[in-house]
């Protein structure tokens, strides 16, 4: 769907995006992750035609058009990392304005904007002035606005920064719905865990370079935390520990009251075997899970690696 080819962008002598090559397949919910200053916004702005790259190309679908051409712009819905609203303009008029900027007829705009405002849960705010909306509402309005011309690709730059937890959840639900409707979506964020549960694939960027990209399961497997298993037992800890230490693939990392964290090197079947072995030996296992949220640690690991 979106092909970014060898993209390079320099600000003076500073290289913000460095030979970035990335392919995002159709129908994906792609998480674009990287610490602040990694070059995510720069990449997105180039794709949206708001900036010229020093080198490289961008292609959407099989359409060959220059970045920033009208043809290309029709394919992209862009939700920037700012709101961009006017005083003295009502929600309905705001939608109306952007619709007509895409050359849509007022009848189409009226119909579509009704549907979209419904989708983003703002149908009761049509006559409200845009600048009086809450941050979460503004953000959802921006999504509705970006969808008005029915783009094939929706790009959101840090959509949940500055939102309260509730608004974040609503945003996440909205994006999941849109994904289910078949839209290809790209979300950038500097928080990995925020994306990991909803994205189908992610790309990690640091210092202008792509560190890794792929399906989320594949990335998860690479994580050291993926090897980290939390184990909780009801019975006495000692026999369990003894059994664990006997296993070649297991390294006990830390032991707490009745919880032990182990590092496991091996395949999934072996892991299942480990659990079976414990149970057979009358260890009362109450909890046995792979550490989560450790995408963060992967992140540190991967991005740290580039830094060195």
């Amino acid at each position: 769907m979106l092909y970014i080819n060898d993209l390079t962008k320099k600000y003076g002598s500073y290289t913000a995006v460095n030979h970035l090559t990335l392919h995002i397949p159709e129908g994906d919910l792609f998480g674009f992750v990287g610490p602040n200053g990694a070059g995510k916004t720069t990449t997105i702005r180039i794709v949206c035609g708001l900036m010229r790259a020093n080198a490289g190309s961008v292609q959407i679908g099989n359409i060959s058009a220059a970045v920033g051409s009208r043809k290309m712009k029709r394919l992209i819905g862009y939700v920037p990392d700012f709101f961009g609203v006017y005083d003295n303009l009502k929600v309905k008029e705001y939608m109306d304005m952007y619709g007509s900027m895409y050359g849509m007829s007022s009848r189409d705009i009226a119909k579509l904007s009704d549907d979209l405002l419904e989708l983003v849960n703002l149908s009761d705010k049509k006559e409200v002035y845009v600048d009086t909306l809450s941050r979460g509402m503004k953000q959802r309005l921006c999504v509705a606005r970006a969808l008005l011309h029915n783009p094939r690709l929706l790009i959101l730059d840090e959509p949940s920064s500055g939102l309260d937890p509730r608004a974040r959840v609503e945003m996440k639900e909205l994006l999941k719905n849109l994904h289910a409707m078949g839209k290809t979506i790209v979300i950038s964020s500097h928080i990995l865990s925020e994306l990991s549960e909803m994205c189908t694939s992610i790309g990690i960027m640091n210092r202008g370079q792509l560190v890794t990209a792929g399906r989320i399961e594949d990335i998860m497997k690479k994580i050291s935390g993926g090897r980290r298993i939390h184990l909780r037992v009801l019975s006495d800890m000692e026999p369990a520990l003894r059994l664990l230490r006997e296993q070649a693939q297991v390294r006990v990392e830390s032991v707490r009251e009745n919880e032990v964290i182990i590092l496991f090197d091996g395949e999934e079947t072996r892991l299942a075997g480990l659990l079976g072995m414990l149970l057979q030996n009358q260890v009362l296992v109450t909890d046995f899970h792979r550490e989560e949220g450790s995408l963060e640690s992967l992140f540190m690991q991967l991005t740290g690696g580039v830094a060195e």
Binding site: K9, Y11, G12, R45, C48, G49, L50, M51, R52, V67, G68, R70, K73, R74, I76, Y78, P80, F82, F83, G84, V85, Y86, D87, N88, L89, E93, M97, Y98, S100, M101, Y102, G103, R145, H149
Partner: protein, 295 residues
């Protein structure tokens, strides 16, 4: 056929119509005009000894040009201010990038901005019709003059407005853009007069060539000719330029009453060029560095 509004014009009119600025603007505009009206009346009265002399009524003829010039001055002062802050204003609200990601071309954005400023100011001018009408009645003018006057002021609004938008595309700060647009606009008053002046001074009365053609872009000359034509029906060059004095084009323009139309055409063309340059400048794909305002 359905007329498609430029979305920016529509939005700008919606937004300004709701702000207090426009009410105050209208008030100030009408007040300034009424003040000018009274002032001129007072001066005429001074000059013409008494209300009852025949002299008095013949003086009233100047009411219309004076009020018209006052309006032209206000308009050419306000329109560049509006357009000079148009692009930086959108950038401050961070809506400019959003516009650029739509199918609006940079030119249609620039054009829309100039048009909304012009339409806004025409609202002021239209509201001044009663005062102008008074000057007609007492000055004995024809009604069609009002129409010509509207066209002329529209032209100046577009001209000064596109200079404003051009300045706006160059400067990040609104205030700098306003100053720059006044300098450029002022430049048209001063610099266009230099070539004919120089050739007159150093030419020692010999053929001044086509140097006077620069004056086609001079608003003062435009309005002088405009009022000359309206008030007397004759061009101000009437008989002053003979074949030996100037180049053939200058001679033709002055001789056949063409000056005003060619001048208007040139001003429109230059306005168009300024808008084109502004559009080129705001197009993010043209500026190599891609400077972006830091938050």
């Amino acid at each position: 056929m359905k007329i498609r509004w430029n979305p920016i014009v529509k939005k700008d009119l919606q937004v300004t119509a709701r702000s207090m600025r426009i009410s105050w603007g209208l008030f100030a505009y009408e007040a300034a005009l009424a003040l000018a009206f009274l002032l001129v009346l007072a001066i005429i009265q001074e000059e013409a000894d008494s209300w009852y002399s025949d002299n008095f009524y013949s003086y009233l003829v100047v009411l219309f040009p004076v009020l018209a010039v006052v309006q032209v001055c206000i308009v050419t002062l306000i329109v560049p201010i509006i357009t000079a802050s148009a692009i930086s204003g959108e950038k401050e609200r961070q809506t400019f990038d959003l516009m650029l990601t739509t199918c609006m071309t940079p030119f249609s954005i620039v054009f829309g901005k100039v048009m909304s400023a012009v339409i806004n100011i025409l609202l002021f001018v239209a509201a001044s019709t009663p005062v102008m009408a008074l000057s007609f009645v007492v000055g004995g003018m024809r009604w069609s003059y009002l129409f010509y006057f509207l066209l002329a002021i529209l032209l100046q609004a577009v001209f000064s407005g596109s200079i404003g938008i051009f300045a706006s595309s160059l400067c990040r700060k609104s205030i700098v853009a306003v100053l720059l647009s006044f300098s450029i606009y002022g430049g048209f008053y001063v610099l266009t007069a230099l070539p004919p002046l120089i050739s007159m001074i150093f030419g020692m009365g010999r053929n001044m060539g086509e140097s006077a053609l620069f004056l086609l872009l001079n608003p003062v000359v435009f309005f002088e000719e405009f009022f000359m034509l309206l008030m007397t029906g004759e061009t101000m060059f009437n008989g002053t330029i003979s074949k030996g004095d100037a180049g053939i084009v200058t001679y033709m323009l002055s001789h056949y009453n063409l000056w005003i139309y060619v001048s208007a055409g040139c001003m429109l063309l230059v306005s168009f060029l300024f808008m084109l340059m502004a559009a080129w400048k705001v197009n993010p794909l043209h500026s190599g560095t891609g400077v972006r305002k830091k938050k």
